[in-house]
């Protein structure tokens, strides 16, 4: 009936799940992202005394194919990311000529581009 935890629920959370300083558990945080091209006022600074574990977005990337899902399938954004990673993997060993460019070149028309 109420969004807040009951006393019993709070006690359980406090006992089992709450991370306290000195527990030896680092708080997981996402890496900060900021715009290069816009003045960005969104930088947040963690207190230097706080133990944090910055999660890596790149360390575990094996993204050529989607991992198994359960009840919720992968989003368009996820599939987009996977397809780009796949493309990068295929281009990684190219030197000089670019296969993407060669494939797209026949479709280029000057009249399509606003000079």
């Amino acid at each position: 009936e109420d969004w807040g935890l009951t006393t019993e629920e709070f006690e359980r959370w406090n006992r089992l799940y709450k991370i306290e300083p000195g527990d030896g558990i680092k708080k997981p945080i996402m890496p900060q992202s900021h715009f290069e091209t816009l003045g960005d006022e969104e930088r947040q600074t963690e207190s230097p005394a706080e133990e944090v574990h910055e999660l890596s977005l790149t360390e575990w990337r094996l993204a050529e194919s989607p991992f198994p899902d359960f009840l919720v399938d992968h989003s368009d954004r996820c599939r987009h990311f996977i397809s780009i990673m796949d493309m990068i993997e295929q281009m990684r060993h190219e030197e000089g000529d670019c296969s993407y460019e060669q494939k797209i070149q026949p479709y280029f028309h000057w009249e399509d581009v606003d000079i």
Binding site: P31, S33, L57, F81, I88
Partner: protein, 32 residues
């Protein structure tokens, strides 16, 4: 496009390189 190019440039510069390669785009892709 400009943001992707700028972040790729930044990544290449961090590695003391004068060319943005596809690996640099890959590294900035998740946050982008």
């Amino acid at each position: 496009v400009r943001e992707a190019a700028a972040r790729g440039s930044r990544q290449a510069q961090t590695e003391d390189l004068t060319q943005v390669d596809v690996e640099h785009v890959e590294k900035v892709l998740p946050q982008l």
